[in-house]
């Protein structure tokens, strides 16, 4: 629980309750076969997960959410014969294939800029990861992981890559997927077609490895690093990873030619300057088809780690994979956030995203669904600049501010503000 005290929790609880009573708050996502799912929630005020709950229909579920008004609401990806029985006796029928993309797992540059820690007792702002307060020596340092539009856009890029894999390689239809904003720093995607329902843990692990190129041996895709290349090298229109490798390698070569700094930096970790400069000339040769034979397989200098072919392939793979949370996808008993409910870490709606508007919708703009009224007086310890519902707030540091309810709830949920007296 991240509220600074009971008072803050009470206020947000009240705002959540009002929301679930409103008409929009009743538009909770209805998972298929609701009576076969396990539900769980985390209440305000206690750090426990109440689980093994079952509901016979949507009305019963909505009434419970309104009555309890939890901090977080979860539902199982799995279907069970007895959803409310203890874990070993539920009788697993099958589970949706679920994916969690979390900006926290992505190597974004902004993380360093906006994540921080602070000391609740003296208010000193500290570097993220500090264990003791530099101001008063207290051991109770609170970590704050911020989420900015850069984080969300990085997560969205991964989501789009994942969808490209699912649609093209696995032939999963858009109508068989539900995509949601997680309400905090990423996206959830659930596939519920019959094809995937019965896949066991091992099969799901294979899918994870496919999406992340884990344990890939490129010789099975027609590429060999040591021996001479075989005839059937991967080309742009090939199916599966073959085509992905070829297209991605061409992209890498084009970026090198355009002088893209990020790409050059990445390749310089593997190649000598000389080998990298040579690569600038290559992309025109690749315009018709993937000319793997134009990449050298010998290193130009002894101190470098790799040759041109290996380095380009390595970077091409890195760009192609979908960065998903492996553990979530492999877990066939996982509880995941129920879509169109409020996320207690932010007060934002974990909303279902329309498939064709993923690119356009900025979650911070659309999913701050709590009301503007009442305006709330806060003492903010520290907050970077942030934008919600189209308005820009902050940055704040140890100051008193007056904010609309949704923005106040956002800071209170993150534990960086407390209620101030009028």
């Amino acid at each position: 629980m991240s509220f600074l005290s009971q008072d803050e929790a009470l206020l947000v609880h009240h705002l959540f309750k009002e929301y679930y009573r409103s008409s929009r708050g009743r538009e909770i996502f209805e998972p298929r076969f609701i009576e076969r799912r396990e539900f769980g929630y985390m209440p305000f005020g206690q750090k426990v997960l109440v689980r093994h709950l079952g509901f016979k229909d949507m009305n019963e579920l909505k009434r419970a959410i309104e009555r309890i008004t939890p901090l977080h609401v979860y539902r199982s990806a799995a279907l069970y014969h007895f959803p409310t029985a203890p874990m070993g006796e539920k009788g697993w029928i099958g589970a949706e294939l679920i994916f969690d993309i979390d900006a926290d797992h992505l190597p974004t540059r902004c993380k360093k800029e906006h994540d921080f820690a602070y000391c609740p007792s003296c208010g000193t702002i500290l570097e993220y990861g500090s264990k003791t307060c530099a101001g008063c020596g207290s051991q109770e340092v609170r970590k704050v992981e911020w989420v900015c539009e850069g984080c969300i856009s990085a997560a969205r890029t991964e989501l789009l890559k994942l969808m490209d894999f699912l649609e093209n390689d696995f032939d999963i239809k858009p109508e068989d997927m539900v995509i949601s904003f997680s309400g905090n720093r990423g996206y959830h995607l659930a596939v519920y077609s019959d094809d995937v329902l019965e896949l066991d843990r091992v099969a799901r692990q294979e899918i994870v490895e496919y999406l992340t190129a884990t344990n890939m041996d490129i010789s099975f895709h027609g590429l060999a690093l040591r021996s001479k290349l075989r005839e059937a090298v991967p080309d742009y229109t090939d199916y599966g990873w073959r085509g992905r490798l070829a297209r991605s390698a061409y992209e890498v070569l084009t970026l090198v030619r355009q002088g893209n700094q990020e790409t050059r930096d990445k390749l310089l970790e593997l190649l000598s300057e000389e080998d990298l400069n040579e690569l600038e000339e290559i992309s025109p040769l690749w315009s018709e088809r993937a000319r793997w034979d134009t990449l050298k397989t010998k290193k130009a200098a002894r101190h470098v780690k790799q040759d041109q072919l290996s380095a380009v392939i390595k970077h091409a793979i890195e760009r192609s994979i979908a960065n998903i949370d492996n553990v979530v996808t492999m877990d066939v008993h996982r509880l995941l956030r129920l879509s169109n409910t409020l996320n207690g870490k932010t007060g934002l709606l974990a909303a279902v995203m329309p498939y064709d508007q993923l690119q356009e919708i900025n979650p911070f703009e659309y999913f701050a669904v709590l009301p503007e009224e009442p305006t709330i007086n806060l003492w903010v310890v520290s907050s970077p600049r942030f934008s919600l519902a189209g308005n820009i707030y902050g940055p704040y540091r140890n100051e008193r501010v007056k904010l609309p309810a949704y923005a106040a709830a956002y800071l209170l949920c993150k534990g960086v503000a407390r209620l101030a007296e009028h």
Binding site: P86, M87, G88, N168, D169, F170, D171, I172, D195, V196, E198, L199, V202, A203, Q205, E206, I207, E209, Y210, A213, T214, N215, M216, D217, F220, H221, D238, Y239, G240, W241, R242, N326
Partner: protein
């Protein structure tokens, strides 16, 4: 010859007694278990018993000795073989029978002439096993839906079977003919196992009592030779990953939560008691008996969900970075327990060779 050819279907029925059609065909004669008691059925009973006996005694090697063109006797005796295996009420018997049967069909498929094998594989995959399989263009001859592929290919250990190393074309995995044959063999094995389990418990009629008794004895000797986990192996014989985990634990090095879970599950599965495991942990500086006991008992299934946890498979250990040298030292195994059992068998075989010698010496004294 094509799939619609009536002769083709008939031949297929003869060779694959578990086919839906043959079950209907045999069923149409209305044979019941009791009918086999009639002296005129003696030869059928003998064939059925022999089939089970061979599979138990020789496993997949039994397939080598089987004929390729079964007689009507063999076909009609097949349901009785199934019943006999069910009467043994033993999972090991089920697995062994299924494996040898699957091998037998694979051998038959190998001998079918090349021109028609493609159609037969396609027929067996789609009609018998219910897989979504399409015919494709060389060098690949088949495309199998990824969900069906994953059901069977995950049992195969070589890197080339990993999905990440396959070409996935709009939901279908591209396969060569030999690859398809291997997958079908695996799928047949699972299919036969499932059918055997579906039979459930069967009472043993008098006329079969003697046979069942004999098969049970055979099963016992077999089992004794297979695995004797009762005797514990010295840590030098453990799989490398477990040796490494134990060493790191004893050296007081940091071991991840998953690493702790893995070694505890392993020790429980090879027969260590909770106390012994805790004893080992107590040598660490950060040892807290209360927490350690709670966790170990949980893994052993004495607490919480009461599930006794199994040891993670090699692939999972690889994902968590606990596999040593990518299994190079382990030979072809899929899980640390498989490695351990193999070591146990070797140790037992070594002992048996030593024992008679020791006895002779004793007599001489």
């Amino acid at each position: 010859m094509t799939v619609s050819d009536p002769y083709f279907i008939e031949r297929l029925m003869m060779e694959f007694p578990f086919l839906q059609q043959i079950r209907e065909y045999v069923g149409s004669f209305g044979i019941k278990l009791e009918d086999f008691a009639d002296p005129s059925m003696r030869s059928l009973v003998d064939v059925a018993v022999k089939r089970v006996e061979d599979s138990l005694a020789h496993g997949i090697r039994a397939a080598e000795e089987s004929s390729t063109s079964p007689s009507e006797v063999e076909i009609f005796s097949y349901p009785l073989s199934i019943a006999l295996v069910a009467m043994l009420e033993d999972d090991y018997a089920i697995r062994r029978f299924a494996a040898s049967e699957a091998e037998r069909y694979a051998k038959i498929l190998e001998k079918i002439d090349r021109s028609s094998v493609r159609d037969i594989l396609h027929y067996v995959a789609t009609q018998v096993l219910g897989m979504r399989v399409k015919l494709a263009q060389p060098p690949y001859e088949f495309e199998m839906h990824f969900a069906d592929y994953l059901k069977h290919a995950t049992r195969l250990n070589e890197p080339r079977w990993k999905l990440v190393n396959r070409t996935l074309k709009r939901g279908y995995v591209l396969l060569t003919r030999p690859e398809m044959a291997t997958l079908i063999k695996n799928a047949l094995e699972t299919h036969i196992e499932e059918r055997l389990r579906a039979v459930g418990r069967l009472g043993v009629p008098d006329f079969l009592k003697e046979h069942v008794q004999r098969l049970k004895q055979l099963l016992e000797t077999r089992r004794w030779r297979e695995v004797k986990l009762g005797e514990r192996l010295a840590p030098e014989l453990w799989p490398p990953c477990m040796q490494a985990l134990k060493q790191r634990l004893l050296a007081g090095e940091a071991v991840s939560h998953f690493g702790n879970f893995t070694i505890a599950a392993f020790l429980i599965n090879i027969g260590w008691t909770t106390d012994e495991i805790i004893q080992m942990y107590s040598q660490r500086g950060d040892f807290d008996e209360r927490i350690a006991r709670y966790q170990v008992e949980h893994i052993a299934g004495q607490r919480g969900s009461r599930t006794k946890y199994t040891v993670p498979r090699c692939a999972t250990l690889q994902t968590h970075g606990l596999c040593i040298e990518n299994g190079r030292l382990c030979g072809d195994v899929k899980s640390p327990m498989q490695y351990y059992r193999r070591q146990a068998r070797r140790a037992a075989a070594g002992k048996r060779r030593e024992e008679p010698e020791a006895q002779t010496k004793a007599e001489n004294v």
